[in-house]
């Protein structure tokens, strides 16, 4: 493992070559990914767009260390994700990856600040929870439980939790899917802020095409493969996006 890419290039956060993922057998076989090859440079905001079942979430899960590929190669910087064991994937997630999900996935029994603390306890160089919560604009609600917060607030705690470990990459799966447009925009603003202050690479999977306007790079998925990659030269700030 940890094999170097043959044509060694240190700029990319991720690269994949002929990455495939097949679920099921026989008649029930689903080709979620059909030989995807791509390259994602460090420090970019990348939006993955596409209809349901197009393979974008599958790619996110493999790059995030949650799932194994069926074949092909995937690299995080110099490390081969496709050759890692489950325990190594756990260490990878622990050291480098932050996740933000559609349904927040906060621990209901911990307050906002404790949810962030949770990550600090296993991270190498975490930021102070208050600082992380301030970054997402929640410094006034430190001691509230998830049940006392709105959806947008919960999502911002989830983002604070994800960034508190100062991750190299942040994966967001439908981060605004359960939110109204105003709150959604606020959450995207937080993500952009994180990208600018921490320099983290951010991958966002979404159905909301408007989100693409704030990305450095937009990857369109269809039928398990990349249909088009657009490099966005005229990035908008989330406030300027029309929903």
């Amino acid at each position: 493992m940890n094999g170097k890419l043959p044509n060694g290039d240190d700029i990319a956060a991720f690269r994949t070559r002929n990455l495939s993922k097949v679920y099921g057998e026989g008649a029930a076989t689903v080709h979620a990914l059909r030989g995807v090859s791509l390259e994602i440079p460090k420090g970019e905001i990348v939006v993955l767009l596409g209809p349901s079942g197009s393979g974008k979430s599958t790619l996110l899960n493999i790059l995030g260390g949650l799932d194994h590929a069926s074949s092909g190669e995937a690299y995080f910087q110099h490390q081969s994700l496709t050759e890692m064991t489950n325990a190594e994937l756990t260490q990878y997630r622990r050291a480098h990856v932050g996740f933000v999900f559609q349904f927040y996935n906060l621990m209901p029994s911990l307050t906002a600040v404790e949810n962030v603390e949770l990550v600090r306890e296993i991270a190498d160089q975490p930021m102070r929870p208050e600082e992380a919560l301030a970054l997402v604009g929640l410094d006034k609600r430190l001691h509230h439980f998830p049940s006392q917060m709105s959806g947008g607030e919960q999502q911002r705690v989830a983002i604070a939790r994800a960034i508190a470990k100062q991750p190299t990459v942040l994966f967001c799966d439908e981060p605004t899917g359960a939110l109204d447009s105003t709150t959604g925009r606020a959450v995207l603003k937080v993500l952009q802020n994180v990208n600018e202050t921490l320099g983290a690479t951010i991958l966002i999977v979404t159905h909301a095409a408007a989100t693409a306007k704030m990305a450095d790079r937009v990857i369109h998925f269809a039928d398990g493969d990349i249909r088009e990659v657009i490099v966005n030269t005229a990035k908008l700030s989330p406030e300027e996006i029309e929903w």
């Binding site: 899960n61 995030g64 949650l66 799932d67 325990a87 756990t90 260490q91 997630r93 622990r94 050291a95 990856v97 996740f99 999900f101 349904f103 996935n105 906060l106 621990m107 209901p108 029994s109 911990l110 404790e114 949810n115 603390e117 949770l118 990550v119 306890e121 296993i122 991270a123 439980f145 998830p146 049940s147 006392q148 919960q154 939790r161 470990k165 359960a178």
Partner: protein, 788 residues
């Protein structure tokens, strides 16, 4: 046409099949116990009744020293008496060449011709005695089988001091001897006690009873009063030395089977509810979990137009399928198990026939209470289905509210890491749920601790009785009371190291309206071989004035220290004594009444009389001692302590005593069932949280801590509570196991509680390990995608 909801029902059942089978099995076990035990009670009662009826067992037994035959007419004239039979009974010794010690037997007369009016026998092998053939006898089948004797064999018997050889012509069983013990022995042992039936004139000649009888048997007309008849019989027989007439209920063998039936009845009431309560608990948690995870589907069904009642019925059906399935399986298993047990009982009680029969009402009761329990368990859950509106159901549920969860002190908060806080807050957020889990595990602990305490109580009772209390090697019983001179004779037999005389006297104790027919044990002043000890193994002080009652007898007589009781002596000159109660003692074995030997003889005005002796023997010379004693005419019998102990152990392992093993098994199964289900449900509820932790980067071990910490905490809280409950439970169980013959005192040692605790911890570890495997296998992606 199968409706979609019913199709869902079938698939849901298939999906939760292992849990459904487990719960169904718990219900089935409860119903099995119910059907089997009720069936056995019914069967034993009916079989006993039929057996008594067919062989005309007497309702009243009136032993007497020697009454002339014409007295029988007077007895027959007592109002309420239907039939009378006089017979001769005597203690005898059987000498088998291959056995060192003489074996004790009871010789009973049968009419020279024809069958007796009462207490007939069931001839299993051979034939009846022929008139005039005085050397023919019939032998109790149990003894014959144990000693491999068959019709045609001869038997050397010592009767009233004279040695004779008889020829066995038949084997028989009798409803009088389900349970046959030699006088003075507690436990039955087929190989060490025999009954022989002899022709009346032959037996009368042997015991000087020509033209007389020493036991009258009476049967009653329907509705006749037992007390009136026994009183009248006593009055008639008084001048001939009545030993006190008693009813069938006090007949030893009948009392034994009655206690067995009572024990079964108590278990039939007590055990099945335990299973059904556990099943209800499990059903509740499984269904509530299912409804929680199917909120969306329920909302959808309601949105389609299904009514709340229809949706609730759907879930109720699921519960009912499990309950009815379990109950039906239980009924079938109960019948099968009952048949098997009935056969065991048949050989145990030596019934000539047995028909296992369950009252069909039991089936309906089993079915109805299973359905009732299951429905009750699910009603709480169904209520939440009714309250759920489609719109609310389709939205993801709000995160559980921890606002009012355990407020940890600030300092404590800082020390604890986040996973520990999660454990503590969750445990204390739903005190009701924690209470249920703690109660469940504590019940398992209580069952284990209680059963182990009782089981070591059994062992302790044996150990104490046969090695602390009784330190002799053998007990010699004389045919009648002798002077102390006979003790000197015994002491001179080579191989006898020590002799300790005792006297036991048959009496009736009376105190106010209460009476008890038993005996007084007169013990020497400073006994070394056989001591009167209480439950804490302290010697019971025997006062020169007054008697010491064992607790069961004090309870029957309602007598306390200081009370005066009347003692109606039933041998010798049969004086009526007034004696104060010196003390009430907790004894382990039997229901003895103690007195100082000298005081007893003083009261009886018969100085220096003894009725038997405890012996300490030189191991090397045992056989010589047995041979010497075999030839002493005044010896009615000798019982070896080792033999007694073995038969006692055998008795406690059969019948009701065997239930303790079953109960211990049940305790284990229930403990594991509760612990495992608690863990499983906790896992199901937290699957998403656990998956989230794994995604964030927690290792498998760190993630497992959050769940297993909870299980550990609940187990640790439950252990001391269970230990305390176990104390009270063991009192109740030992009460249930104790009989007139033996009292079981639970034994509380740190070792016993340690073993019970370890059993619970082991169940937790196995459950934890099984759940940990699930945590390790969580599908991170799908767990996170779902709303709940």
């Amino acid at each position: 046409m199968v409706t979609p909801l019913n199709q869902k029902l079938v698939r849901d059942l298939w999906r939760i099949k292992s849990q459904a089978i487990a719960i169904g099995l718990v219900i089935a076990l409860g119903v099995l116990m119910l059907v089997m035990m009720h069936g056995l009670v019914n069967t034993l009662e009916e079989t006993r009744l039929a057996y008594y009826d067919r062989y005309r067992l007497a309702d009243v037994f009136a032993p007497v020293n020697r009454a002339p035959t014409h007295t029988l007419k007077e007895l027959a004239a007592i109002p309420g008496v239907a039939a009378v039979q006089g017979r001769v009974m005597g203690e005898a010794l059987i000498d088998l060449p291959e056995v060192n010690v003489p074996l004790r037997a009871r010789a009973i007369s049968l009419p020279d011709t024809g069958s007796p009016t009462l207490n007939d026998i069931f001839l299993t092998d051979g034939r009846m005695m022929l008139a005039g053939h005085v050397d023919e006898i019939i032998l109790l089948k149990g003894f014959a089988e144990a000693r491999q004797l068959t019709p045609g064999d001869s038997l050397t018997v010592t009767m009233n001091g004279a040695r004779r050889t008889f020829s066995i012509v038949g084997l028989a069983q009798s409803p009088e001897f389900f349970y046959s013990t030699a006088p003075g022995e507690l436990a039955a042992d087929d190989s060490r006690f025999a009954v022989i039936w002899v022709g009346e004139s032959a037996l009368a000649a042997a015991y000087d009873m020509e033209g007389a009888f020493n036991e009258a048997l009476l049967s009653l007309e329907p509705g006749a009063g037992l007390a009136a008849v026994t009183n009248a019989a006593d009055k008639i027989l008084y001048k001939f030395g009545s030993l006190g007439a008693y009813g069938l209920e006090n007949q030893l063998s009948n009392r034994f089977i009655s206690e067995e039936i009572d024990g079964l009845k108590a278990s039939a009431v007590g055990v099945p509810p335990l299973f059904l309560a556990v099943a209800a608990f499990l059903l509740y948690i499984v269904i509530s979990r299912m409804v929680q995870s199917e909120r969306e589907q329920i909302g959808l069904l309601k949105a389609f137009g299904y009514s709340s009642a229809e949706v609730s019925t759907h879930y109720l059906k699921l519960v009912l399928v499990i309950a009815i399935g379990g109950a039906l399986a239980g009924i079938a298993m109960g019948i099968a198990a009952g048949r098997g047990m009935a056969e065991l009982y048949q050989s145990y009680f030596k019934f000539p026939f047995i028909v296992f029969e369950v009252d069909p009402v039991t089936f309906y009761v089993g079915l109805l209470i299973s359905i009732g329990t299951a429905t009750a368990a699910s009603l709480l859950v169904l209520r939440s289905i009714f309250l759920l509106t489609p719109a609310v159901a389709m939205r993801p549920p709000l995160p559980p509210d921890y606002r009012n969860a355990l407020k940890l002190p600030e300092r404590f908060q800082r020390i604890l890491d986040q996973p520990s806080k999660m454990v503590l807050r969750r445990v204390f957020r739903q005190p009701g749920r924690m209470f249920a889990a703690v109660t469940g595990i504590a019940c398992g602990m209580a069952l284990s601790a209680g059963m182990i305490s009782v089981m070591s109580g059994f062992d302790r009772a044996l150990d104490v009785s046969f090695s602390v209390l009784d330190r002799s090697d053998a007990n010699v019983v004389f045919t009648h009371s002798l002077t102390q001179k006979s003790i000197i004779e015994l002491a001179q037999v080579p191989g006898v190291i020590a002799v300790e005389p005792y006297r036991s006297v048959p009496v009736i104790f009376r105190h106010g309206r209460h009476h008890y027919q038993g005996g007084i044990e007169g013990l020497v002043d400073n006994p070394r071989l056989y001591r009167a000890l209480d439950t804490s193994l302290q010697p019971i002080p025997l006062m020169p004035n007054g008697i010491v009652l064992s607790k069961p007898i004090a309870d029957i007589l309602q007598a306390a220290p200081g009370d005066w009781i009347t003692i109606d002596v039933r041998e010798g000159r049969r004086p009526l004594l007034q004696v104060p109660v010196a003390a009430v003692a907790n004894t382990l074995l039997g229901s003895p009444v103690y007195m100082q030997l000298s005081a007893l003889n003083h009261y009886l005005k018969e100085p220096e009389q003894v009725s038997g002796a405890f012996l300490r023997l030189d191991t090397a010379q045992r056989d010589q001692v047995y041979r010497a004693i075999k030839n002493m005419p005044a010896v009615a019998g000798i019982s070896l302590k080792l033999d007694s102990r073995i038969s006692f152990e055998k008795m406690m392992d059969q019948g009701a005593g065997a239930m303790r093993y079953i109960m211990a098994l049940i305790a284990g199964v229930i403990t594991f069932g509760i612990v495992f289900n608690s863990a499983r449900i906790a896992y199901a509820e937290r699957e998403r949280d656990l998956a989230s932790l794994r995604v964030i980067g927690f290792t498998k071990g760190e993630t497992a801590f959050v769940l297993l910490g909870e299980l550990t905490l609940v187990t640790l809280i439950a252990l001391p509570i269970g230990a305390a409950l176990g104390y009270y439970l063991s009192l109740a169980i030992s009460e249930g196991f104790s009989t007139d013959i033996y009292q079981i005192q639970p034994v509380y040692t740190s070792e016993n509680y340690g073993i019970a605790g370890l059993a619970v911890i082991f169940a937790s570890l196995v459950s934890g390990w099984l759940v940990k495997r699930d945590i390790d296998r969580i599908d991170l992606v799908s767990a996170l995608k779902s709303k709940e």
